[in-house]
Amino acid sequence: MSDFLAQGGYGLYVWPAYAASAIGLAGMIVATLAAWRKAKRALTALQDS
């Protein structure tokens, strides 16, 4: 396990790269879906009123 975390001594570079990519991709997904839900809610509210 510690071997896996060490990544041959390059863990300090490999893991931040994976963390940054995960944050970037997840951030895009969350923001995109939130905007979609908001737009859908707003339009439904408008059509119901």
Binding site: Y10, S21, G24, G27, M28, L33, A39, L46, Q47
Partner: protein, 237 residues
């Protein structure tokens, strides 16, 4: 069915709603399998375990460039055919492209430090790729600075099309100026096959993720514009 039939927002909503779950599922599958395979490959004989950064860096960079390409094409269609859906497609691609570009720069920096001894060098590839980020940010800033929807789309389209000149510069930069960034190697047969599987899966996953998010963003903007026109017609009526 021609692509211009899809330009009808109602038709676009129907078709995109049908294909979206499949593209998103394929993206998730490619990313999960690519991620697992990426950690099972042996370390590279020269670059050691940092080769695993390649599985993030190359897909982010190629997706960032592809996103700019589709943004420029959509901009050109919007400019020539004056179709609002093309404007929407261009506008919604920009923030996604900017994030992929930033990820390409960050992962590249984290790969450069252990392999080159520097987080950053002003080499042709890195500099032109930084310009790609600035083009995306400039595009977004320009779009939000002009209030009128049509004028904003037109100005942005011109910027996007001019900026597309940077795409071949990025691609050929490593051939024109041989500095630190390595040359194009994926399709030159210079990568061991064991690394190609996770790399292609991640590239496919990133590309499909971009298209999934892009479709959702276009659909969102269509709903927003629909809501605005409902409000407008009520205000008038």
């Amino acid at each position: 069915m021609s692509i211009f039939e899809l330009a009808n927002p109602k038709r676009f909503m129907e078709v995109s709603g049908l294909v979206l779950p499949w593209i998103a599922a394929a993206a998730a599958l490619a990313l999960v399998v690519g991620l697992i395979l990426g950690f099972r490959v042996p370390p590279d004989y020269q670059q050691g375990e940092t080769i695993r950064i390649m599985f993030l860096h190359v897909p982010a960079a190629t997706t960032a460039m592809m996103a700019y390409g589709v943004m420029a094409v959509a901009s050109a269609i919007g400019l020539i055919n004056r179709h609002p859906l093309a404007d929407v497609a261009a506008k919604t691609a920009a923030p996604l492209g900017a994030v992929f570009t930033a990820l390409g720069l960050i992962t590249g920096s984290l790969w450069g430090k252990p392999m080159w001894g520097a987080w950053w060098v002003w080499d042709g590839r890195l500099t032109s790729f930084l310009l790609l980020l600035l083009l995306y940010l400039g595009y977004i800033a320009l779009g939000s600075a002009i209030e009128d929807e049509t004028r904003s789309a037109r100005a942005c389209a011109i910027l996007a099309i001019i900026g597309a000149v940077n795409l071949p510069i990025i691609y050929f930069s490593v051939t024109w100026w041989t500095t630190l960034h390595q040359a194009n190697s994926i399709f030159a047969g210079k990568i061991a096959p064991v690394f190609l599987w996770p790399l292609f899966l991640m590239m496919g996953g990133y590309t499909l993720l971009f298209f999934s998010l892009w479709l959702v963003r276009i659909r969102t903007e269509i709903l927003n514009r629909r809501a605005r026109s409902v409000m407008l017609s009520r205000a008038v009526g």
